[in-house]
């Protein structure tokens, strides 16, 4: 799929024949979000989020800093629970179940919705123990079973060949890019349905970044991926759908609040966005 990013000022100009882009197939809905908002105490950090995330697709959240994209991402796996005073309002359903329902256990949610963080954070344990950590927590005890899972996850993360001879070594001895792939392996080892990624490449060099982007395309067939990125081109390269957030002055309390502006197929967002703010961001007029 080739996406063209229009040069500044040309979007609404009359143009010649446009290249046809294939339609986005509509796989089942994984996240059904309606008017979701996130509060820290009385401060509203993000609002107006309405979207449907589809299975086996890569959805990207883009926008300037402070627009709430990471805040929204973390709401998807209830990471805000650990912050006292944080609150999520609105409808946030996962496979038909309200993520914030009274009987829902956050731990259970996180078993199915994994997260890879901006700065690689492997445990100070061996490579093997890092990947095996999740399965062990989930009750896998047999050494043979763990071996299988570890190899499978490391292969899926394109790391197996590099580390297969040194699984006992400390994970901290690896390069940044390798550590991040290890974190990805660790996350997929528990077989989640969704993998959330919070700016996974921002701490990495371009070559490592390219490898991770390639990895994302491969993983798409097994998992649903939602990625926050401040790099527009990355979103354009890897994602199927893109959500553009921006920062607004909240009229109710004179504070800045994030808001979802537009959510659509990536091809459309980057070539023919509906909202002027999106166009301004895409063409580099701000942000």
């Amino acid at each position: 799929m080739i996406i063209e990013i229009a040069p500044p000022g040309t979007l609404n100009a009359p143009r010649p024949v446009r290249r046809a882009t294939p339609p986005l197939e509509d796989t089942p809905v994984v996240f059904d979000v309606e008017n979701a908002e996130v509060f820290y105490g009385s401060f509203r950090a993000v609002r107006g989020v309405t979207m449907k995330v589809h299975k086996n697709q890569i959805t990207a959240f883009i926008g300037p800093s402070g627009c709430g994209k990471t805040t929204m991402l973390r709401a998807f796996n209830r990471m805000h629970d650990v912050i006292p005073g944080a609150r999520v309002a609105g409808k946030l359903h996962y496979q038909g179940v309200d993520l914030y329902g009274p009987e829902v256990s956050a731990t259970e949610v996180r078993r199915r919705i994994g997260m890879v963080f901006q700065k690689p954070n492997p445990f100070p344990k061996s490579i093997y123990d890092n990947v095996a950590f999740g399965p062990r927590v989930n009750g896998v005890k047999s050494r043979a079973d763990l071996d299988v899972i570890v190899e499978k996850s490391l292969r899926s993360a394109a790391l197996w060949d590099e580390v297969k001879d040194r699984l006992r070594n400390s994970a901290l001895g690896m390069s940044g890019g390798q550590q991040q792939r290890l974190c990805i392996a660790r996350t997929i080892a528990v077989q989640p349905d969704v993998v959330l990624m919070d700016e996974p490449c921002s701490a990495l060099d371009p070559i490592a970044t390219a490898r991770i982007e390639e990895l994302m395309r491969q993983l798409k067939s097994q998992f649903t991926i939602v990625i926050v990125t401040h790099n527009m081109q990355q979103a354009a390269r890897v994602s199927d759908r893109t959500a553009f957030f921006t920062v607004e002055l909240d009229s109710t309390n004179d504070q800045r609040c994030g808001i979802l502006v537009e959510y659509d197929a990536t091809a459309k967002i980057f070539s023919n966005p509906s909202d002027e703010r999106t166009e301004n961001y895409i063409t580099g007029r701000f942000g």
């Binding site: 731990t107 994994g114 344990k125 999740g134 927590v137």
Partner: protein
């Protein structure tokens, strides 16, 4: 620049630089003043104590304490055993409880009023004079259950507990938050995260801090005076019967006018100091405090 003269940047002798040098010398003297007593004490203990210990080696470590104290001859065996019993007992009680207390303060308590109160009281507890702890254990335990090494262990545990809590909490603070996040994101419960990620990550520092507390406890005398009683024979029973310890023996023999008793005191001091140094060295090897 003064016209015609080359630039002269050499140091000029004046009152200010003299004062500077004088103060530097004074500071150096302070260092010497600290080193001298240390060397003096260690020298006395080694020169007098090592002789006693090694001249009767290994009897010094195994023979019983002469009941009639003016009798010459080695024997601090029971005291060594007593010190080991009491210190080990105290460690087994205070370290797990102290780690749990620190886990409460750092991982669960947060900013609640209860946690603030507990932290405050733990600080207060570090300042309780050891003799007060000894009397407390006497009134609550020894009166009911008699003298025993266990009573001594309880008293020492009370002294160690706030120290272990303090140093463990410091170590827990050093564990970066993103490690906990990584574990939560994998669907790990809080308790499991603490047990399998946070505590292992902080372990060297926790052990080091605990060892330092152990070294200090091994040298305590006052609490033991009220809880352990005074025995001269071996008593390996932790829970019943009076016992003795190296520190108590040193205290008792220090005021004796019999040279034989004093000799044993030096020997016991040598043994105790060796023990304390070894434990401290291990602690430092495990984790050096950041001293910039």
């Amino acid at each position: 620049m003064i016209a015609g003269e080359p630039l002269d940047l050499r140091a000029r002798p004046n009152w200010r630089s003299v004062k500077n040098i004088a103060m530097t010398v004074l500071m150096g003297l302070a260092v010497v003043a600290v080193v001298i007593p240390l060397v003096a004490v260690v020298w006395s203990v080694v020169s007098r104590g090592a002789g006693i210990v090694f001249s009767a080696f290994p009897d010094f470590f195994t023979a019983e304490i002469p009941v009639v104290s003016r009798r010459a001859g080695p024997g601090m065996g029971p005291a060594i055993l007593g010190t080991l019993l009491v210190t080990a007992g105290a460690t087994l009680i205070a370290v797990p409880l102290g780690i749990l207390g620190a886990v409460f303060l750092h991982e669960y308590g947060g900013t609640s009023a209860f946690a603030k109160l507990v932290r405050f009281m733990a600080t207060v507890m570090t300042g309780v004079p050891s003799i007060v702890m000894g009397l407390f254990v006497y009134l609550t335990w020894t009166l009911k259950f008699g003298y025993s090494a266990f009573g001594g262990a309880l008293a020492l545990a009370c002294l160690m507990l706030p120290v272990v809590i303090g140093s463990t909490e410091q170590m827990l603070r050093l564990v970066p938050a993103n490690l906990r996040e990584a574990a939560y994101a994998l669907g790990t419960s809080k308790s499991r995260t603490i047990l399998t990620v946070v505590l292992p990550a902080a372990l060297p520092g926790i052990v080091s801090g605990s060892l330092l507390a152990v070294a200090r406890a091994a040298g305590e005398t006052a609490p033991l005076l009220f809880a352990v009683g005074a025995a001269t024979a071996y008593n390996p029973n932790l829970f019943s019967g009076a016992n003795t310890a190296l520190s108590m023996q040193i205290f008792g023999n220090a005021t004796s006018s019999f040279v034989a008793a004093q000799d044993r005191a030096w020997g016991a001091a040598f043994t105790l100091m060796l023990l304390a140094f070894l434990v401290t060295l291990t602690a430092r090897l495990l984790f050096t405090r950041r001293s910039s």
